[in-house]
């Protein structure tokens, strides 16, 4: 026994190191290549990265913004985890997010006139979740009935949704009092309450609770297990008697609903209104985040913080240092490529080791 135990612990340490490397190496490579591109463009990458950390993490104001930004990222990540674990590519996040945001922005100022704040916020969130879920219905049904690739259909619905959200803002819910088309604003006092006198709204608490619940649902419940089986092997799932079609629709609705909740919380917590042509385009941005966390709802919290720092710091850097925010987008693309590459090399290593 003692002879067997020794290599086992060694293996375990090695596995742990490998797990850390699988995450750290792609991040470092992406930052390095991104830095090289900055250098070519005549900007000092160290200044840029230093500024991003300084602004996004180490300054109190920036840190509060970072925490605030984490809320939508986490909720979208929760939505993507549900879908990806079930083997479904819901890439329609932007449309689902924006439509949900518009529904909240349209409802909230009207409801607050007659209802108490808590009820208003709750109704807005539920309505947004429902609308976002409904927006995913066509791709879900096409996938479930005819096996039509959901990547394409959800993307198409996303483009459709972003334009439709604009139509709603400009033609139906426009506040006549403003020159720039936007919906009526929800007063700051009526928005989601702040946490302990900070500027961080309580949406982050909702997001943390949701992402942990989603993680527990996916790993500890029968429903989550069913989804994972569908994701791992749809043919086996059919043989096991699972209603794959129904599960596909349910997964899509849940995934889109969570992304919708992100849109609703962002409006109720931060903006109070939707301006025309507003589109933060988090939908694809969160994809690498979820992959980095290997679809793990707990790990995703740390990566959401990392992304959030990058975004808040990057936004500030674009104003101060003159490196546009698009740099972060490119960094995310690089990150995804290196992630896939490192994953693949790791796969080769395991294969060679015979594990």
């Amino acid at each position: 026994m003692s002879i067997d135990a020794l290599p086992l612990t060694q293996d375990r340490t090695r596995e742990l190191l490998a797990a850390i490397a699988r995450v750290a190496v792609p991040i470092l490579l992406a930052l390095a290549v991104g830095g090289a591109i900055l250098l070519i463009l005549g900007k000092n990458p160290l200044t840029y990265y230093g500024y991003v950390v300084q602004r996004g993490l180490l300054s109190w104001g920036g840190f509060q913004e970072t925490m605030t930004r984490m809320a939508p990222l986490l909720l979208i990540a929760a939505g993507l985890i549900v879908a990806f674990r079930a083997g479904i590519w819901n890439l329609g996040g932007d449309g689902q997010y924006l439509l949900a945001a518009v529904v909240t922005a349209a409802l909230a100022p009207a409801l607050i006139e007659t209802l108490p704040r808590g009820l208003t916020l709750l109704i807005c969130m539920i309505a947004s979740v429902a609308v976002a879920a409904a927006w995913s219905l066509i791709p879900a049904l096409l996938k479930a009935r005819y096996g039509i690739n959901e990547i394409i259909t959800s993307l198409m619905m996303s483009f459709l949704g972003t334009s439709f959200a604009n139509v709603l803002v400009k033609l139906f819910f426009r506040d006549p009092a403003t020159t720039v088309p936007q919906t009526r604003s929800l007063e700051v006092v009526d928005r989601l309450p702040r946490i302990f006198g900070t500027n961080v709204h309580s949406g982050i608490l909702i997001a943390l609770a949701v992402v942990i619940l989603v993680h527990l649902m996916m790993t500890r419940t029968a429903f989550g297990l069913r989804l994972q089986i569908v994701g791992a092997n749809p043919a086996a799932a059919v043989h096991a008697g699972l209603k794959v079609g129904w599960l596909t629709v349910a997964t899509f609705a849940l995934s889109a609903g969570l992304i919708g909740l992100a849109g609703s919380v962002e409006i109720l917590g931060v903006w109070g209104t939707v301006r025309a042509d507003w589109n933060p385009a988090y939908g694809l941005l969160v994809v690498p985040l979820v992959f980095l966390a290997r679809f793990n709802g707990i790990a995703v919290i740390g990566f959401a913080l990392f992304f959030s720092v990058l975004m808040i710091g990057g936004e500030s850097a674009s104003r101060r240092i003159g490196v546009p925010q698009d740099f972060v987008l490119m960094l995310v693309g690089l990150l995804l490529v290196f992630l896939a590459l490192v994953e693949y090399l790791d796969h080769l290593r395991r294969k060679r080791a015979g594990v």
Partner: protein, 311 residues
């Protein structure tokens, strides 16, 4: 309604439909080649956008539209070569890399554009037009269909060429085998990796050319994120065309018309909000998918890396 069907309206609609449809056609044909060979090329949006950027920059600095088109095609190929290296040769997940390339190209082109032109959007001169002798003087149809940039005629010629290639050449058979039963192609002594690599590089060239046309001829300038899903529409076209280039052409015309509606309606003096019109092509895609969902066919080995001896 009758005053809508005036000559200027019709010319504007048809001309616009061709201009808007050609990038979709090139992307759709390109994607079709990849899909035939069993590669789901989600990164085509990124290839198109990068081609639009390199094509515009080359045309802007050289003053030659030919250089622009060439650079656009090569730019698309450059992005496609990443797919070849990572997905075809190493078997990495085509969807993940595709998304990464699209996001990466969006960020990179916006970044490069910013550092070159800051927040200005310089315009190119009007693209040269080749009027087909005789046909171009037919009223309405002449100016609408037969006085376009040469790329338009090349793209339509490509439909015929690919139709022949897929149906009656060994290259076409090899492509189809690479998508339907790669092991059989391998057994016949032809490299699956090489076949797929050629297919993806061709896709990259066509998508990049489509992007360059979009920027240099369609818009006359480069704006970050300007492809706005055109590459993805190309994927839909390829999906619905069931391997037949003619259907890609018909689909491209359909979506071209819905894209051209905005300007045509403005010419006619009807003021429709742009957002409503922007929904049209995507709504059209969804409608077509819902109606023809049962008929879309994809090769069995689509999206799967080929590993010799692997079951």
């Amino acid at each position: 309604m009758s005053e809508l069907l005036t000559q200027p309206f019709l010319i504007s609609l048809l001309f616009g439909a061709v201009t808007a449809g050609v990038p979709l056609l090139l992307a759709g044909l390109g994607e079709q080649i990849s899909e035939k060979a069993g590669v789901l090329n989600i990164g085509i949006e990124g290839m198109m956008l990068f081609g639009a950027y390199t094509g515009f920059v080359a045309a802007y600095y050289s003053g030659s539209f030919w250089m622009g088109f060439l650079a656009g095609g090569l730019g698309g190929m450059l992005v496609a070569s990443v797919v070849v290296l990572l997905c075809i040769r190493q078997g990495l997940n085509q969807i993940v890399i595709g998304i990464a390339l699209t996001i990466g190209a969006e960020g990179l082109t916006a970044l490069l554009h910013f550092f070159q032109f800051s927040k200005t959007y310089p315009r190119l001169d009007k693209a040269p037009v080749l009027e087909i002798p005789g046909l171009a003087s037919i009223p309405v149809i002449g100016p609408a269909l037969f006085s376009h940039n040469i790329v338009v005629y090349l793209a339509v010629g490509l439909v015929v060429f690919l139709g022949w290639l897929f149906r009656a050449s060994y290259v076409g058979l090899n492509l189809e085998a690479a998508g339907a039963k790669p092991a059989a192609l391998d057994a016949a002594g032809i490299s699956v990796v090489a076949t797929r690599s050629m297919a993806v590089l061709s896709t990259g060239f066509l998508a990049g050319l489509g992007g360059a046309y979009l920027a240099n001829v369609g818009a006359g300038l480069f704006v970050p994120f300007m492809t706005h899903g055109a590459g993805f529409i190309g994927i839909v076209l390829a999906m619905l065309a069931r391997g037949r280039p003619v259907w890609v052409l018909l689909g491209a015309i359909l979506f071209g018309v819905s894209l051209a509606m905005t300007t045509a309606l403005q010419v006619a003096g009807v003021n429709v909000p742009t957002d409503v019109v922007q929904m049209l092509p995507f709504a059209m895609v969804m409608l077509v998918l819902v109606i023809f969902a049962r008929h879309s066919v994809l090769p069995p080995a689509l999206g799967l890396p080929y590993v010799r001896g692997d079951r």
